[in-house]
Each structure stands twice: as C-alpha cells, then as structure tokens.
C-alpha cells in the first residue's frame, strides 16, 4: 500500500546521514566522556562538537547548551529549575493558553504548590498579544514561558517583543522552540531569550535527546542530581549516540532550512488551498502567510469528527493528526483550538497535516484526491449534515 507521512510535527524520520554517524558511537566510539583515557577523550571531544552544532543553530555559545532526554525534560528543567532558584524573589509565573502540555502541566504543578499562575489568552489566529503579557506582569513575576511556534496550528509568536518586555522587567524568559527549530531562524540574542527548549526528533534527529539553552548568568536548580555532568545542570552519563545525532541534525537543519522552507511553503499552500477549494464548510485554523510555520496545515472540516477522518486517511496510507477529543485522550478537544475560540464541534473536526523534507507535490495531489471522498462518506453518515442536505434541497 502507498504510504504518505504528513505528521512531521509528531516526529520525523532520522536522516540517514545522522543515523550513520550515530551508529559509530554505539559500536566503536563508546567511551564515557567523563573518563580520562583515550576512549573517553575521543567522545568528550565529540560531545563538545555536538554542543557547538546545537549552539550555532540558535545563536548561542556552546557552554550555554545543556543536553537533556528531550523537549519535555528541558521544559521541566527550565520552569521548575527557575521556580526553585527564584522562589524567594517571587512566586508569579506567566504562560499562554496554547502551550504544549510539557509547559502547561509543569506550570500547573507549580500552581498547586504555592506559585501564582497567569495564563495569557490568544487571538483567533492563535497568537499571543504582547499587551496581554505586559498587563500580566507583577512585581513578583519571576518567569515568562511562551512557545516560539505552536505545534497544532503553526502560529509563530512575537518572541522578540515579549523578550524585550521580560528584559526590561528583569524577568527570566523561557521559550519552547521544539516546533520552530530548523524551520525558521532562531537567535537567542536578538530575541532576548534566557532559556530555550529544543528537541532532536522533530528535526530528523533521534528521539530521547533534547537540550536547554541557559543564558550565561541565569541560574537554574537541577532536577537530576548525581555525577555532575552538563556543568552540574543535568547529571547522568551522556546519551552519546543521541547527542551526536542531534548535533548532526542541527548542522544539517542549518544548511537546509531556507530550501526546506521554500519547498514546504509551496506544498503547504497547495494543500491548504486545495482543501478549502475542494471541500465545502471548511475552516482554516491558525494564521496564513508569514505568521505560520512553513510545514503546518490545520483545517476544521464541519459535520465530521477528527478521529473518523484519521482512520479513513490511515486506511489509504495517509498519516495525519487531529485535535478531536478522541485523539487528545480526554473528553475535550484540543486546548489550543478551544483557546482560539473554536466551539467544541468545530474543534472535534480538526485535521493537522505537517509536512517534511521528503514530501512531494504528487503526495499532496493524492491527499487532495482522496480527502473529499472521505469527507463525503462521513458526512452522509452524520446527523449534523442532515440539516445542510435538507436546506440544499429546499
């Protein structure tokens, strides 16, 4: 069967060049970087090179990079580590309503443990208002944590403006850049970011590795104690194959970013416009144009439910995702779509396609050929669509 992968925001394949270099760190260069001998020195050097590769992609110094087990750990380290370090200074944290669960749940955990939390709303395109952040700032605000680009609707946030604001008020600023890394430029200096989360497996690197950028002079308390690796910020023997792979993936992402973006924007717009033109009663979720990630398409298809769409697409070999309750694991649909003001029944019918390096125009044609048929079939089954049919007949 034909297989079309359009779920790159969930995870990406590992680039063959990345996989090849990782392999040597399993079987040949297996030394512990903390060891004194040649085996250890060899990997220590490679570790520092990988650190540099990650740093370069975000405009940081390599000593400011702490490797972690992934984006979730980096988010936890940033938020819990700052809260712990600054709890005597203040107890107020600001975040947004469209953050990833790794940020939201961590903030809510702190709220349950004596911190105050302000959750900033977003507009209908899924973009945070800088003014709302400004209004939320209090004398005891210690941390602002906002994502660079949203994983569901691809909305790019005004990070540089919020960063400026945070700097003016002397507040630590954390940014989850898991979805934007390698897709749009990131510069921690220009954006005034103090802490930045990145992850390997969204950029054709391996799963199980990520990093937290920690600006020089910013203090965080570690979550994991032990042998003092990663400048005491994250103990535990380094995941060398993962780190090497992540470093290489960052290097490749830097080289390919402009080309990837150009190609994916074309495919994105073809897919989005094709859906809107080919299917009635469709709503585009998120911004259009420059405020949207190059690889994100998100639409709500009225009168049908998201999981049914996913199952039907899957039977044709097409992989996508949805913000319906059935796929979120709770009774409510996506908090992002609800945060943007969508009513439940429209959020239930949302469909996300996230493009990657290997997607072709022909694959988009295939989706555009199949999707209308799927929607038609499900709508004929849907009691919500009856009123539409009846009003058409009338």
């Amino acid at each position: 069967m034909r297989r079309v992968y359009l779920d790159h925001s969930a995870t990406t394949p590992v680039d063959p060049e990345v996989a090849a270099i990782m392999m040597t760190y399993y079987t040949e260069k297996y030394g512990n970087p903390s060891s004194v001998h040649g085996f250890g020195r060899e990997t220590k050097q490679a570790l520092e090179q990988a650190r540099n590769q990650v740093a370069e992609l975000i405009g940081a110094a390599s000593r400011e990079i702490t490797f972690t087990s992934g984006g979730t750990e980096a988010d936890n380290l940033a938020i819990l580590g700052t809260a712990e370090a600054l709890r005597k200074k203040g107890k107020h944290i600001i975040t947004s309503c469209i953050e990833h669960h790794a940020v939201l749940e961590t903030c809510e955990y702190l709220e349950k443990n004596g911190f105050d939390l302000t959750v900033i709303p977003v507009d209908e395109e899924g973009i945070i208002s800088v003014d709302e952040v400004r209004k939320a700032i209090r004398p005891d605000t210690i941390l602002i944590t906002v994502m660079h680009a949203n994983n569901e609707v691809g909305s790019i946030q005004p990070i540089a403006e919020i960063g400026k604001l945070a700097k003016e008020h002397g507040i630590v600023f954390h940014v989850d850049a898991v979805q934007s890394l390698g897709k749009i430029p990131i510069n921690v200096e220009e954006m005034n970011v103090d802490l930045l989360t990145v992850s390997g497996h969204k950029i054709y690197g391996p799963k199980g590795v990520g990093a937290l950028y920690v600006r020089k002079g910013v203090r965080i308390v570690p979550l994991i104690h032990g042998g003092g690796q990663e400048r005491k910020r994250r103990s535990g023997t380094e995941n060398m194959p993962g780190i090497i792979g992540f470093g290489k993936a960052c290097e490749l992402a830097g080289q390919r970013m402009a080309d990837d973006a150009e190609k994916q924007i074309k495919l994105r717009d073809k897919l989005m416009n094709g859906i809107v033109e080919g299917i009635e009663y469709v709503k585009v979720n998120g911004p259009v144009g420059e405020k949207r990630l190059p690889n994100n398409v998100n639409v709500s298809i009225r009168y049908v439910e998201g999981e049914s769409l996913l199952l039907s697409l899957d039977m044709l070999g097409i992989a996508a995702s949805s913000g319906s309750a059935c796929t979120s694991g709770s009774l409510d649909p996506s908090h992002v779509l609800l945060g943007m003001g969508l009513i439940h029944e429209i959020a239930h019918g949302s469909l996300r396609f996230s493009l990657g390096r290997q997607n072709t125009e022909e694959e988009i044609d295939y989706v555009l050929e199949q999707l209308p048929k799927i929607v038609e079939r499900l709508r004929m089954m849907s009691p919500l669509y009856d009123q539409v049919i009846h009003s058409k007949q009338a």
């Binding site: 319906s324 089954m381 919500l384």
Partner: protein, 125 residues
C-alpha cells in the same frame, strides 16, 4: 487499537441512513462531546422490521451504531430492550478502554427509539 470487527463496521457500516416515517427515533450524545447517534425504527407488531442510523463521531461511535442495528433487526422490542452498551462492545470484540464510556452509547440510542415508539403507541390508545 481497534479490533478488525470494529474497523469492518467503521469501513462498511450496516444500515446507514434516515427513515421517512419511522415508528420510533432516538438520539443520544451532543456535538460538544463529539458524538451524536440517531437511530430510526420501523416496527410491525412487536418486531423491529427495519432500522437505520446516522452517527457523528469517532470510529467506535460509528462501529457501535452499525453493530447495534445488526443486532436488533428482526428482534422483538422486549429483546432489543435488554441489549446493553457492554453487549454491543462485546459483539465487536471489545473496544479500547478510553472508548467504553464516551463512544459506546448505541444501545442507549436504541432504547430511546423504542421509548419514543412506546410513547407514540400510548398516545394512539
């Protein structure tokens, strides 16, 4: 995550459609929670002669609706009244744990349709 039988009923649902003059109609769920099931009954004497459904919802919602229509066709209304949501799920070879509550309402829709039929009968008398 779904059994083959669930996928079969999702792909080729039995008895999809509406009925012009049904003897009973039952609807459960709402668009807010993401599942709506509507069942139409054609009843002669005490026997369910025909049944149709329309469902908005996930794979489990469609499959349970389809399954329940297959289970009740030709049955008496008393026999239909004892079919439970759990029995429908069982007939499908089981449902994922998370689907047992939110999407497993087809028997409720059926019972509501029978209730509607009985109400109409009483009014006639």
């Amino acid at each position: 995550m779904y059994t083959e039988k669930v996928m079969d009923h999702f792909t080729n649902p039995r008895n999809v459609g509406e009925m012009k003059n049904p003897d009973g109609v039952g609807e459960v769920g709402n668009a807010k929670c993401g599942d709506i099931m509507r069942i139409y009954l054609d009843i002669e004497g005490d026997i369910i002669k025909d049944v149709k459904f329309k469902t908005f919802g996930c794979g489990a919602a469609v499959a349970t609706s389809s399954m329940v229509t297959e289970m009740v066709k030709g049955k008496t209304i008393d026999e239909a009244m004892v079919i439970s949501n759990a029995a429908v799920a069982e007939a499908l070879g089981g449902l994922p744990e998370t689907k047992m509550h939110c999407s497993n309402l087809a028997a409720d829709a059926l019972h509501k349709a029978i209730g509607d039929y009985r109400d109409k009968q009483q009014k006639k008398e």
